[in-house]
Symmetry: C2
Subunit: 356 residues, 2 copies
């Protein structure tokens, strides 16, 4: 009476047993309608809510997904993780799950934390981000039989066909193809590509998208090579690289880039050179892109989050229920969306970076 109402309080008021109340809460369909109504009434009247820990103890499920909050030295794109986290949390709540945060300095530390959370039964599934080829973590999780999904492909020989583990990823290739095609469609004659130094699994894939668009317009391999710019994921590095490049190749009138950071560097370089005719596209659709009016590729993180939850819990399940990954059912490749803004080419409706 003093504290929060328990299931017994509800049972007493509704003149039924504990278990019936439990049934009304967990599987209403097996309770006779009138009984159900009576119980629901009592629940509403008392403001009863099940004690999550009691339920978790008994059912041996934590209904919690653990995810590492990376230290984000990733520059601007850190906000991608942020938005993904937001979408994941929202989706998780809709399915009766919670999202628990943890931190770690490196992958080994992450494994340690996951082990702890698993042993404490604080989380029963995990989501990994920024996976690399032959990732320590995925191997370990598979060995342990811990349910997990990665946001990011394993980038193994045959990602789609050979389901080592469950993953969701964004089709960067399609994204860059769209960006390049948009630049061409809005009047660009020579579209360069600004990406990260190869080899870079994600980067090479994005470059392929640009190459797709260019090839279908008749560009040769050597032309593609001569239109490629490389820079580390860093605004300054990108600025320097683009300035140098435009000096050699003033005929280039558009640049599709692999990230908003690179794009920002390109934007600063072209502005400084007075080359405001050069159209630029970014990737990630970060707040910075929105802020400076940059056309960018949006990853649709809501769909990514949905995909993750679907792989973890089934299409509409409310429990972690992961099977062996089966071909065709273990992956989701989300097609991104091009968000067109002023600096993306053509008429430049809002002249964003030229002097007033």
């Amino acid at each position: 009476m003093a504290g929060k109402p328990t299931i017994d309080d509800v049972a007493r008021i509704a003149q039924v047993s504990r278990q019936t109340v439990s049934n009304v809460v967990n599987s209403p369909e097996i309770v006779r309608p009138e009984t159900r109504a009576r119980v629901e009434d009592a629940i509403g009247q008392l403001g009863y809510r099940p004690h999550a820990s009691a339920r978790r103890l008994r059912s041996q499920k934590s209904s919690t997904i653990g995810i590492r909050l990376a230290a984000m030295g990733d520059g601007i794109s850190g906000s991608v993780l942020d938005r993904f986290l937001h979408a994941l949390t929202e989706g998780a709540y809709a399915r009766g799950m919670r999202v628990l945060l943890f931190t770690a300095d490196d992958d080994a530390g992450e494994i340690e934390q996951i082990e702890r959370l698993r042993d404490d039964r604080d989380a029963d599934a995990f989501v990994l981000t920024s996976t690399s080829h032959s990732d320590l973590r995925t191997r370990w999780l598979l060995d342990q039989g811990i349910p997990f999904v990665t946001f990011g492909r394993p980038w193994a020989a045959d990602d789609m066909g050979d389901p080592m583990h469950h993953w969701v990823d964004v089709d960067g290739r399609a994204g860059l193809r769209a960006a390049a095609e948009h630049l061409i469609a809005t009047g660009a004659r020579r579209v360069a590509y600004l990406g990260w130094p190869s080899p870079s699994a994600t980067g090479d894939d994005r470059r392929r998208g640009w190459a797709d668009a260019m090839s279908s317009r008749g560009a040769s391999e050597s032309e593609l090579a001569s239109l490629s710019i490389e820079a580390e994921e860093d605004v300054t590095a990108a600025r320097v690289a683009v300035a140098e490049f435009l000096d050699r190749r003033p005929d280039v009138d558009a640049i599709a880039t692999a990230s908003d950071s690179l794009a920002l560097g390109a934007l600063i370089a072209t502005t400084a050179l007075g080359r405001t005719d050069v159209a630029i596209t970014g990737f990630d659709n970060t707040p910075v892109a929105a802020a400076v009016g940059l056309t960018s590729v949006e990853q649709r993180l809501g769909m990514v989050a949905d995909g993750v939850l679907e792989l973890l819990m089934g299409v509409s399940g409310r429990d972690i229920s992961m099977r062996e990954p089966r071909p065709g059912e273990a992956h989701r490749l989300v097609t991104p969306e091009l968000v067109v803004r002023g600096s993306g080419g053509g008429e430049r409706p809002v002249p964003v970076v030229d002097p007033m």
Copy 2:
């Protein structure tokens, strides 16, 4: 035997009772050393870890802090929340707490979620961010008697003296004073201020810091007014405002700004105008600032997080233990730190934004 070991398994191996094992885990000092050793041995041998939910059920404590992951339309500065979250999570784990995420579209929605999490006993304390004057949420939380700390002052008449509730904040005024003084020290003769339209609690406070520095150099009120630029938290808006301003006041050779977004706008404007002699400082020390080499005010979010946990749990406590806020013990005002980079003034060691 099949599943994870329980406290009873440990007890059996160590030839002691359940409770003794519990004591070894929770208050080792009351157990006789040899007994303790035996139990610890058994724990290690079995790899025993207490079942978090069982513990929470019995002790009626969730040992969990809830925090809303804002949708971050805040532009670049979204990363501040991110870094704070990281620091908070790290600190929380060190004190045996977990951090649970939730989302909401607005403050009313946040209240709803908090109520749920409280009722489900999923979290027993909350951290609020970006509080406004006369905040719906703080009022409600106080009424409900739910432990919480805000990151951000209430901005009431006398924040420091009158402890309505527990809060931690960064001393933006001191930050901008330091920035302005740095600009002056490195050779600037006329330092303008670029901030958000008044009234803005945070913004006005930061402006005051700049004004402090200027006044002590003998600037009059009217001079200060003529050196103030206003723009919304938006790169483009800032760029436009700064371009206009520099047209009127070409004598200005430095700009202290209230945020990295504004600073980026200023940077783009000065670059475009060829005024690379104008030194600029930002606020928040976001990845963007680092990327473009911008001197910026670092909020020291680790200290903020520590302050939050201290107010919630006491100096070294491992439990939520909040009293009535008492004068002098209910607040923490963290002094930020100026991170000096190339574009911050003076010699411009690394010419970041001029054409190559």
